[in-house]
């Protein structure tokens, strides 16, 4: 049986990890390579880096971070933030990322999903979607709306319909990030996560709102998620990953036991 994955998320701005609440008020909290190594050693199952740098020099800075991370950690990691073209994706994959995460760019230009899947394989293409509960209305049957550009622009697009469209176009995985829950520590949005996970044939990753170990349990059980993204809950040392895994294991969730072996860099 496949283990449920815990995925620490590192928002990187100008080469430094930051953590914000509802996309505002970011504070630098650390060096991405050191943090990646820390989570790797703690038994994180995967990592995700979002580049939130606003400047034009962003690409170079982030690629340097990616290639340094890739030399030190040997678990999958994905990179997102501002990827719009096949060339953007190729650069990140060549620098050592296992997957690319596309978001607003895919909403504006959905064929980037199918082109990316064709060029690099579906397993490389993660469609990340920011969703907000804005209420059921015509054309928004689920009541969940896709939001882009860091939560600023409402698209009028139904989140569940977009998830299906993304899967059909060739995304290998979906990240469902709840804007309502992001940074709140109030728990994941289980309803939208479950509704999407149970209706697509690709893995679904819950994101936004983790504040306690039971929130992860709920994402995996009630939310039917295959993986869960964590940020504040691990960044500030409240719940180290081994403690989260012990809790989940006791709650009957299949998790990966991180093992220590005598393998040293020489």
């Amino acid at each position: 049986m496949l283990a449920k994955r815990i995925i620490p998320c590192l928002d990187v701005r100008n080469g430094q990890v930051t953590k914000g609440v509802k996309f505002a008020g970011n504070a630098d909290i650390g060096d991405p390579v050191a943090m990646a190594r820390h989570y790797y050693e703690q038994g994180a199952d995967e990592l995700v880096f979002y580049d939130i740098t606003a400047s034009n020099e962003r690409r170079g800075i982030m690629l340097e971070v990616v290639s340094r991370v890739a030399r030190e950690i040997f678990i999958p990691f994905s990179v997102g933030g501002g990827l719009r073209t096949l060339e953007d994706m190729r650069a990140v994959l060549l620098a050592g990322a296992e997957k690319v995460s596309i978001d607003s760019g895919a909403v504006r230009d959905p064929k980037i999903i199918s082109e990316g899947a064709r060029a690099f394989g579906s397993q490389c293409i993660v469609l990340s979607m920011q969703v907000q509960k804005t209420g059921v209305r015509p054309g928004l049957e689920s009541g969940y709306e896709v939001v882009i550009d860091g939560g600023r622009v409402f698209t009028g697009r139904d989140a569940i319909a977009w998830a299906h469209e993304g899967a059909r176009l060739g995304a290998g995985e979906l990240v469902i990030n709840s804007i309502d829950r992001d940074g709140t520590k109030a728990g994941y949005d289980l309803e939208v996560t479950r509704r999407i996970s149970e209706s697509v044939s690709i893995p679904v990753v819950a994101s936004g709102g983790a504040g306690a170990p039971e929130h992860l349990r709920d994402a995996f059980m009630a939310g039917a998620a295959d993986a869960a993204i964590v940020a504040s809950i691990v960044h500030f040392g409240e719940y180290p990953i081994p403690e989260l895994k012990r809790y989940l294991k006791a709650a009957g969730v299949e998790v990966r036991d991180a093992i220590q072996l005598e393998v040293e860099a020489r």
Binding site: M1, L2, E98, F120, I259, L261, R266
Partner: protein, 206 residues
């Protein structure tokens, strides 16, 4: 020298980085002479069986792997698509493969007992070591490894199976036949356990 076979697939460099982290010299190459001269050969990668075989043939490397590596008893490690192309054929793209190990490669079922199975399998799964093999030296039984696959091998001879796992169905996760060893899981992305297997391969004496 350890060579990583370059057949224009993704993630060749991640295997190189893992080997370098472990302190093993290696080179990514499509040069048949370098592959013939190598001490050990690794065929990693992600991709589809059809495209992989097309590229190996176009580069003249299919025959090199068959004759100068497998038949010449050179230590060989296949990873992910590198295990699948060792068999006679794959259901993926109806590809004729290398035929180094008898058998074929099949796809996971779309559903098990009426419940949909998510394909590809993406994530960490437990690997049961069904037969003692030095490639697993120092790695506990039932350790998790990282998989990304829609297809898995069905060897004709059960004796080649050294590890299994479960994803809806019980499936073959690793095989060994003489000096040919191959895993369905990604050694370069499986944390310390994956690094240990890579290190074991680089040090194996036959």
């Amino acid at each position: 020298m350890i060579v990583i076979v370059d057949y224009r697939a993704g993630n060749l460099t991640s295997v190189k980085r893992a080997l370098e982290f472990l302190g093993h010299q290696c080179e990514i190459t499509d040069d048949a002479d370098k592959i013939r001269a190598a001490e050990r050969v690794i065929l990693p990668g992600v991709g589809a069986a059809g495209a992989t075989m097309e590229n190996l043939r176009a580069l003249g490397l299919a025959e090199v792997l068959r004759r100068d590596v497998a038949a010449a008893r050179k230590p060989f490690l296949g990873v992910c698509i590198g295990i699948q192309v060792l068999f006679d054929r794959s259901e993926e793209d109806s590809a004729d493969c290398l035929g180094v190990i008898p058998g074929h490669v099949t796809r996971y079922p779309a559903s098990i007992d009426g419940r949909a199975l998510k394909v590809p399998q993406i994530g960490w799964n437990r690997v049961r070591q069904t037969r003692a093999h030095p490639i697993f030296s120092g790695v506990p039984d039932n350790t998790h490894f990282y998989f990304v696959n829609s297809y898995y091998p069905l060897p004709a001879d059960p004796e080649v199976v050294i590890a299994e796992s479960d994803y809806g169905v019980q499936f073959v996760a690793a095989v060994a036949s003489g000096r040919v060893i191959a895993t369905q899981f990604h050694l370069e992305k499986s944390g310390a356990a994956g690094l240990k297997l890579l290190d074991n391969f680089c040090r194996l004496t036959f």
